[in-house]
């Protein structure tokens, strides 16, 4: 049964998605864009709730209870989550979206009317949704585990590419077999489900933890494709367009993220970084010098220009507020303070901007990488707080380094470099950093928040 008015309203929901996503890609309109997309979603849901399918049982009580349970959990999670845990949150949300696609596909198999021709586009679409939804589901949770740290990069498959290749081939063959059956044997569908879930796990597992944001973005586009597949099953335009929009823009965003790291998507998926070899030889001597809080405080206080280069360590230590305090103290002493933000600082591109915004750091003080690099020759002190790979000179000097070619904030152009770090351990990419042994560098060990508070005290006393 068709209802022209409601079908037209569906179109409005689609337009809201498009305008919303468009808005989200520009700073001034981002918030409005998000709200417009949300409005489109609400509209789409309401239409579907009341669309006259004919004489259907509706089962509204089941729908309402599911929506209440999910709504409460989702809302509480969204308002409680710490900003530093944002990548983890997005990956969990995405996993649930994928799981829903997976469940729909399983059910669709079960409810196919008897005598359905299996060699059909309909069944192919269901299989596609089942596969892609399952991969998005299990992959997202593995990505979450890696970000959270309970799944270590050291958990490795012996030959991941070969294993995944065979697994994928197995899934294709099994799908073909299911489609060639005369009568549905549900056991094969369940095997397909398990293999697809397994594939999601083994697809993400070999990829290094540092690349998880890229993986999440990719899995997000998978969820979109899955939703579009489900839309094709039901002939629902909102699901098709919404899903494909996410699929296409998600893939595009994934590529942009890879570009920010000067890597290719293939390189990320094959797991180029991971926990591969510790750095190749560097011609610098591996002797580092340690700074004290007192020295550093005086150095900062009597500088003209200071640049803070924050990394994920700052976020982990929840030190963004202490950092902002230090900045305003220095400003009162007449020191010019900037933040040099690398595009992939933090755990996701743009993550550091969100964290510093939360600590009320003015927007003008955040310099992008290129602007940072042009300020550096006139900068007296660079304070590297919990960042490592984004300031690693190996990226431009050492051709053997896995991060060779990645653009960095070249802090060695400044007069002094103070590196605040917990220990000499390597960064997320698992490679040594010759910066630590440089002539201009001094290490200031300790938890970022503690160290910043000590610096504040020393500056007051100095």
């Amino acid at each position: 049964m068709k209802d022209p008015t409601l079908d037209f309203l569906y179109l409005i929901a689609i337009v809201l998605f498009v305008v919303g996503l468009k808005g989200l890609s520009h700073p001034e309109s981002a918030r409005r864009g998000n709200l417009l997309a949300a409005a489109g979603m609400i509209l789409g849901i309401i239409i579907t709730l009341f669309y006259p399918f004919g004489n259907t049982p509706n089962n509204y009580a089941w729908i309402a209870s599911g929506a209440v349970v999910g709504g409460v959990i989702g809302y509480l999670a969204a308002i409680k989550v710490k900003m530093t845990k944002m990548p983890e949150m997005v990956s969990i949300f995405n996993g649930f979206g994928g799981a829903c696609t997976m469940l729909i596909a399983i059910t669709e198999f079960k409810t196919l009317p008897p005598g359905t021709e299996f060699m059909s586009g309909q069944v192919l679409t269901i299989i596609f949704s089942l596969f892609i939804g399952s991969v998005a589901f299990s992959g997202s949770f593995v990505a979450y585990g890696k970000l959270d740290g309970f799944l270590r990069d050291s958990i490795k498959l012996p030959v991941p590419q070969l294993f995944n290749g065979i697994l994928l081939l197995g899934i294709i063959v099994l799908s073909g077999y299911i489609m060639s059956m005369d009568e549905l044997n549900y056991t094969y569908v369940l095997i397909l489900l398990l293999l697809s879930i397994l594939y999601g796990i083994t697809f993400v597992l070999p990829i290094g933890g540092g690349d998880m944001p890229v993986v999440i973005s990719l899995l997000n586009s998978f969820t979109g494709l899955g939703a579009a597949g489900a839309g094709l099953i039901y002939g629902n335009q909102v699901m098709i367009v919404g899903g494909i929009l996410v699929g296409a823009s998600g893939t595009f965003l994934t590529v942009l993220m890879c570009e920010a790291m000067n890597r290719s998507l293939i390189n990320v998926i094959i797991g180029g970084l991971g926990a591969t070899t510790l750095s190749s030889d560097s011609d610098r001597e591996k002797v580092y010098r340690e700074a004290t809080h007192g020295d550093t405080a005086i150095l900062l206080k009597y500088s003209q220009k200071v640049m803070i280069v924050p990394g994920y360590g700052l976020a982990v230590a929840q030190a963004q507020h202490a950092c902002q305090d230090l900045e305003s103290m220095l400003e009162k002493e007449g020191v010019q303070v900037f933040y040099g933000i690398h595009p992939v600082a933090g755990r996701m591109p743009g993550h550091m901007n969100v964290l510093l915004a939360e600590a009320d750091v003015p927007y003008e003080k955040l310099l992008e990488m290129d602007d940072s690099n042009s300020e550096l020759p006139t900068t007296d002190v660079v304070l590297v707080i919990g960042a490592n790979d984004v300031v690693n000179p190996a990226a431009k000097e050492d051709e053997g380094s896995p991060i060779y070619g990645m653009p960095i904030i070249d802090v060695e152009m400044a007069k002094n470099v103070i590196i605040m770090k917990r220990s000499m351990r390597t960064g997320y990419a698992g490679i040594d950093n010759p910066l630590f042994y440089g002539e201009k560098s001094k290490m200031l060990f300790g938890d970022a928040k503690d160290s910043l508070n000590k610096l504040k005290a020393e500056i007051t006393n100095a």
């Binding site: 829903c100 729909i104 586009g121 999440i216 939703a227 909102v238 494909i244 296409a248 823009s249 992008e368």
Partner: protein, 104 residues
């Protein structure tokens, strides 16, 4: 093979929409500043929760005694709702922080 060709001809409009939407999706987010990568990913993630429409469709058409479909549909709706509500709420929270600062 015939069945697949039939499927294509029956759904040709849907397939047109699908292909055009791919181009639309890529156009719509070109030139995003890095600052917005995280919120955009999170917002797009919320939109992918549109699969909830499928779950609603599924439950509405299920027989009231078909508990297999109802229970799976229930979980489907719950999970998709987490994706949708959580996704939009968390994106809004992130973007609010940028807005707050502009006043200063």
């Amino acid at each position: 093979m015939d069945a697949i060709l039939n499927f294509i001809s029956e759904n040709i409009v849907m397939i047109y929409i699908l292909v055009l939407a791919i181009f639309l999706g890529m156009e719509v987010i070109s030139k995003v500043p890095t600052v917005l990568h995280t919120p955009l990913m999170s917002g797009a993630n919320a939109v992918s929760g549109v699969v909830i429409i499928g779950a609603i469709w599924l439950i509405r058409n299920a027989e009231p005694d078909n508990y297999f479909v109802l229970v799976i549909g229930f979980f489907g709706i719950a999970m998709a709702t987490i994706n949708v509500i959580g996704g939009f709420a968390v994106t809004n929270r992130m973007l609010e922080m940028f807005k707050k600062k502009k006043k200063n």
